[in-house]
Symmetry: C2
Subunit: 248 residues, 2 copies
Amino acid sequence: MATYRMVVAYDGAPFHGFARQPDVETVQGTIETALRKVLGAPVVTSAAGRTDAGVHALGQVMSFNSDGGLDPDSLMLRLNSMCGPVIAILAVEEAPAGFDARFSASARTYEYGIFTRQVPDPFARHTTWHFPYPLDRELMAKAASSMLGEHAFDSFGRVEEGRSPVRRVESIEIEHDGDLTTIRITADSFIQQMVRSIVGTLVQVGTGKTPPDEMDRILHARDRARAGPVAPPHGLFLVSVEYPEELV
Amino acid sequence: MATYRMVVAYDGAPFHGFARQPDVETVQGTIETALRKVLGAPVVTSAAGRTDAGVHALGQVMSFNSDGGLDPDSLMLRLNSMCGPVIAILAVEEAPAGFDARFSASARTYEYGIFTRQVPDPFARHTTWHFPYPLDRELMAKAASSMLGEHAFDSFGRVEEGRSPVRRVESIEIEHDGDLTTIRITADSFIQQMVRSIVGTLVQVGTGKTPPDEMDRILHARDRARAGPVAPPHGLFLVSVEYPEELV
């Protein structure tokens, strides 16, 4: 038995989300079907981020176990010919024993793009949220800083019954480049809809609707009804995943 | 009567080309229908480039005549709400009398993107040609230089019966940035499929299939069968149009 790691990019638009589901097309289902054809046996994959329907990835990480002796380069070639061009397998390599893309990950980074020009950009419409109003940078930066550190994030997402809502946000950066505002968040992991819920609330702060110090109160209220609307999925990208040095 | 000029961007994918046609959706048809609704009378537009089906624009220029007194800003807003987000009206302004987007233009610039990485990029697949083989920069640059100046371009495109195939290519640049090769051509005007036909031939040169000095012989043969295949439309963008100073 050997463990393999893959780096995967995908356009989330055509899929019913990442996670395998019966009867609908998902990213994981598409890749597992291809792996099964190539390897001649069912394969179960693990992934760093179970992205929601419509969410994209530039650097999703997946792992699986298989009998040894696979040639990673030819596997990559065959997977791409079956899954591309909507899904791109950017790397396949053997990983240290015990590596698991989901449970070994120490941090995930997501980016969310907001296009604020009044007139939409025909070429950014599938990968950014068109929100045609000015956003105040300083208010947003001030509000964002409340997210840093370890908190129960129930106000900003969904947690399965009995699971912890506590996550550690390592960094949150907001970049403004012309009409494009990009919010980049790194955390140990995320609860469902957490980035999009934080983005939706930060946008309300940016328009002046919500005062920046309200962000901290929303966080501590631990009540989803207090947060802003969830930003649409097509502006969100899983960009990279970090692992402890000994597993790289 | 006043003359108006518009700058327009569009994703060419959903349209049957730029030029108005009965019974099918085109970029010009969509914009003229919107103009007619806003202005309450049929409007005929002129455009700098009649882009083929699937070809995109970042800076197409169009013009039309109408009774004076239009407010360009509110016209732009209304057109965008009707035509967006696939078509974006980036500017509307009154133009000097006699301005015609097509006949006044002194030069057009097109860009063609080729993505050469073996694995396709899910996010570039609608806007670049995926050609997963290495391209030799020096061979391409040498071949491209044959295009400069005034020539009959029948080998690289279609000309209507009785029309001149002579065009003046002012510049042709090839940029390589990682896996992306961009070919940028400026000419007084272009015959149909000219950029894509030149690109298809330059790619054959870049792979070593066609020697670079063959480019000059293909040009002077004035025979379409001599050129390489026409590159696919989705890698091509009309990026900008130039006008004489007195009309700007």
